[in-house]
Amino acid sequence: MDKLGSLFLPPAKSTNAADVDALFGFISITSVIIFVGILIATIAFIIIYKRKSDNDVTSLNDHNTTLEIVWSIIPVFLIVYVFYWGFTDYLKLNIPPANAYEVQVIGQKWNWAFKYNNGYTSPNELHVPKGRPVKLVMQSRDVLHSFYIPDFRIKHDVIPNRYTTVWFEAIESGESVIFCTEYCGTSHSDMLAKVIVHEEEDFQKWLKESGGRPADMPLADYGKMLYTKSGCQTCHSTDGSKLVGPSYKGLFGSKKTFTDGSSLVADETYIKSSILNPSEHVVAGFAPVMPTYQGILSNDDIDAIIEFIKEQK
């Protein structure tokens, strides 16, 4: 049964996943049994009652009360059973335990940010402890998104102007993928993130060390890391090619012209304001679609990115 499940379902890595899988399995197997029954009956009838001549005499019987009651009642029982099972599991999925560890989630075109209670914001990587319920409080900065972790069997829409929540408890450490499952435009399918499940003590350690650059890492390298992790690379290249946004190649120190006709030389201040307040200056030839990173990237992070951009000559 488990083997069969793994052919069709992703690995089950949360406490609720096994329940969902069991119900999925029950419905699928019951369906297959009934389906095969219908198929066999149909094929048998085709063979047994094959037309022999145009004058064949056929039965005039067009109802059979017992049969009709039986085939109505059985599905009703099955359906009520399946509904009830789905309903109790759904309640479990929807009611987070009171002691759940809370993380704030921000979805925007086209990345995720995870904010911890120590003030640190981790872009596109959700770090959680194993064996402890985690509750996500989610909001969108623009259009609808939907937060989906297949390995945990959870999903919920993320809506502007409104908070929604999901919760889970991971049962093994490791990484799983996070998808956006509500269509949100060009890079909807690249709105990926990772959930990284740590052992409890590793998680505490990560939490303590998070928010900063590892001591031995050069600033520009850290900037590069943020560039990939925060999703800048979906819109900005470093090789001069034009994606959704302008390339970083040769950006620093160049003269930029904006849609309103004004222009500026790209210095540190300009880059910082582009990240925090992108709609202020919109580069000519581009749509104003860059999301703001206000509240997601700290000042130190932005300094590191500026160093990284300076290196893209």
Binding site: L23, T58, N64, P75, Y90, V143, L144, S146, K155, T164
Partner: protein, 579 residues
Amino acid sequence: MSTSSGINADLGLKLKRFVTPDHPEVNYAQAEKGIKAWLTTVDHKKIGLMYLGAIAFFFFIGGLLALLLRAELWTPAKTFLDADAYNQVFTLHGAIMIFLVLVPSVPAALGNFFLPIMVGAKDVAFPRLNLLSFYIYLAGATFSLYSIVTGAVDTGWTFYTPYSATTGTSVVSMTLGVFILGFSSILTGLNFIVTLHKLRVPGLTWGKLPLFCWSLYATSVIQILATPVLAITLMLLVMERTLKIGIFDPALGGDPVLYQHFFWFYSHPAVYIMILPGFGIISEIIAIFSKRRIFGYWFIALSSMAIALIGFLVWGHHMFVSGQSTLSSIVFSLITFFVGIPTGIKIFNWVATMYKGSISMRTPMWYAMIFLFLFTIGGFTGVTLGTLSVDVHLHDTYYVVAHFHYVMMGGMLIAFLGGLHLWWPKMTGRMYNERWANIAAFLIFTGFNMTFFTQFILGAKGMPRRYYNYIDQFQSLHQFSTVGTWVLALGFTIILIYLLQSLGKKGVIASKNPWNGRSLEWLTTTPPVLENFTYTPVVIHGPYDFHKPIAEFEYGIESHGHGHHDASVHHSNEESVNA
């Protein structure tokens, strides 16, 4: 259903037997000649055929777009389209297939052609309105296509807000197109309801109405009740975009989830518009090719009517993870299940109809069997999706994509093909090549399962829908699915070839009743004459009374009508009543 009443029925009419020849001297297509006569015709048969042509054309376009989509998914990221192009193509594919193909398919093409004949009428109740609705359909379609040319829409066929309220693409013209199409749908529905109530020939009681007509009746009720809601929703969307009134867009103070309620309030009932007529066709085919009375006639007829009404109460099953309240989700799940049961029972009815029948596996019957196979899978997976906790995992994945293709393409489209093969000889007077027809049916069945069964697995494994890019582990399944579309395409191409070939010089002439049917369309000439019958048929036996000699179905009274579309004639029995 009366089975044993004498020939003079209890109708008090002086009946005469009318034996129609196989072929008329002048059939409906020869009666009015030239392109202008076609374009301005009020003959329901020609209008039906024009719809058929338009629908086939849009199906061809929609199909090409589907081939493009699947080819692009051969590799993750870019194969040959960029992300924006891909998103526009899936939006167009969905919108064309749903609004331009499936919604009008069976009712507007086959229904228009056959419903009046099956009730013995000379035309629908409002022939001019019928022509108008065809032109409204064309106008709506043109509007939608116009939006392809001018910058293309990329919101998906669901037009969810606030995305659709913010993208820079021509959502307005696309939604206006759909809005206009809605009127065509409403007018057709209205026409059918009045035709069914007012134009049935003497003796054709509700209990003797072919199930195809019952299914169109139920469909028409939904079209009239649900389509206005879609129209209102789309209008609100257009107003929001053009006048900046905040309704759905949170940036303007609106509520995006409200849009989803409106949208599914129409679109769930609309899935019944997209399947009930298919049920009707399947009932006709299974009865004729099993030579057997339908098992549970009244159950099939009335449960469709019930679904048409109760189907309005389940829209929330599309919104289990959207942020609607938990209580609503629970109630919607429960109602969804109960609406599903009668549909399941219909499948039992169809199989039971074959029991002790005389089964002839001609092409239409093959399609009916393919329908049973695919639609049953579609229904069962619908139950999986209706289950609250399981839907949380499966919602907006390829599992949903597979589910609705099994019901819409495996159900309605296959039923449409079945109906097309059942009635092609009647419509055109020609018989297609059955060997090729069976080969094509087999290819479509195989290609369909390759394409879409794979997607159940993809979805269960967590592959989200509307994804241009995907993670590497899904690639082999995606490629298998893509190969399936080529098999499908081959099947459809073969159909196109043999159908066209049957119309040519070498085409085989069909007789008036090639399958030995009993409903009224089989009693008139092939192809029918302009006003369908040269007399007013009187119905004595039920449409599935195959045990009665065909002669007993050929009674009628002289028709006194002159001039086309003098609808009142059918009803003025006064002259012929035997006092």
